[in-house]
């Protein structure tokens, strides 16, 4: 039961990522794409955490943590670039 739920969750996340990538491809402006990236990184954190659960290894969570830092950084950098703040 729990496994089935997890699988369902995984598929949903999968679709979420797919939509995000689709937006990335379609995105009219760079901001759209960056927003998609922002979303995708957060989803990726979930994904990694989920995989940590599946694999039963807590060490993968550290990667998720790095992701948290880094996604923020990249998005902020692009935003600052776009508003001519670099």
């Amino acid at each position: 039961m729990a496994d089935a739920t997890l699988t369902a969750a995984a598929i949903l996340i999968f679709l979420g990522v797919a939509f995000g990538v689709l937006r990335l491809v379609l995105g009219q402006t760079t901001i759209d794409r960056v927003a998609a990236i922002d979303m995708l990184t957060v989803v990726s954190i979930s994904l990694i955490a989920l995989y940590a659960h599946v694999a039963g290894r807590s060490i993968y969570l550290d990667v998720a943590l790095v992701y948290g830092v880094l996604s923020f950084l990249a998005v902020l950098a692009i935003a600052r670039y776009l508003e001519r703040g670099l």
């Binding site: 060490i59 550290d62 950084l73 902020l76 950098a77 670099l86």
Partner: protein
């Protein structure tokens, strides 16, 4: 047009070469002998649960040393190329053309709050290099991210390049010194067993790996920060 065609031909041919690789490749069903002995040796001889860190900081520490030399040289090269070497910019930031737009208060406050957290997190990654994923490089990159965050939020902020440079040099020299210590005390250059291995899996264990990791992290962090600073408009 000819050019484009020839590019296509080249790429396609390379693709064929690659295809042969993919077709010829079979997934590894068990670790290769060398890998297997690494997995056995690193916990046993180096006392490091993280085999990768063990390899990076002891068996292949020479590579790692080379790698920090690479980063170090990139910092110097970028300085040479972009003409920013030596004393930091004496020009007041107001005089520079095309002044950057200041960031919003939210970003600035957020940065101030986040940077200490990122730093402690970097410290965590560095110090736990031998236990969990991560280590000097990753932690160093996170340190650099913290500094980068400051640079992004405060375009006028001048990091103390002199301090960074000195820290970097000292850390690098200490790293080499630790290597020499391995030569004198333990079995060879860059041997981590200059310190007791400690209890397997404990925070202070795996000999000098945490120390090396810390030095590496500091050095990489400083180097990356210097590189970033040199790239700033």
């Amino acid at each position: 047009m000819i050019r484009r065609h020839s590019i296509i031909v080249a790429i396609v041919s390379l693709g064929l070469v690659f295809a042969s690789l993919v077709i010829g490749y079979t997934e590894q069903q068990a670790a290769r002998p060398l890998a297997e002995s690494y997995i056995r040796l690193v916990p046993q001889e180096l006392g490091a649960p993280n085999v990768i860190t063990g390899i990076l900081l002891t068996y292949r520490a020479f590579d790692t040393l080379g790698e920090i030399a690479v980063l170090f040289m990139v910092a110097a090269s970028v300085g040479l190329v972009l003409g920013r070497e030596g004393p930091p910019r004496g020009v007041p930031s107001e005089d520079r053309p095309g002044e950057a737009r200041p960031s919003s208060e939210i970003v600035q406050t957020g940065t101030q709050i986040l940077v200490p957290l990122i730093s402690i997190f970097a410290a965590y990654i560095i110090m736990n290099g031998h236990l969990t994923a991560g280590g000097g490089f990753q932690g160093g990159a996170v340190i650099a991210s913290g500094i980068l965050l400051v640079l992004l939020a405060y375009p006028q902020y001048q990091p103390n390049l002199e301090f960074l440079g000195i820290t970097e040099s000292v850390a690098g020299a200490l790293f080499v010194l630790a290597g020499i210590a391995g030569l004198i005390v333990a079995d060879g250059f860059l041997d981590n067993r200059i310190l007791p291995l400690g209890q397997f899996g404990a925070f202070f264990s795996a000999g000098a790996i945490p120390v090396l990791s810390a030095l590496l992290g500091i050095k990489v962090g400083c180097e990356l920060s210097v590189i970033l600073e040199r790239f700033r408009p």
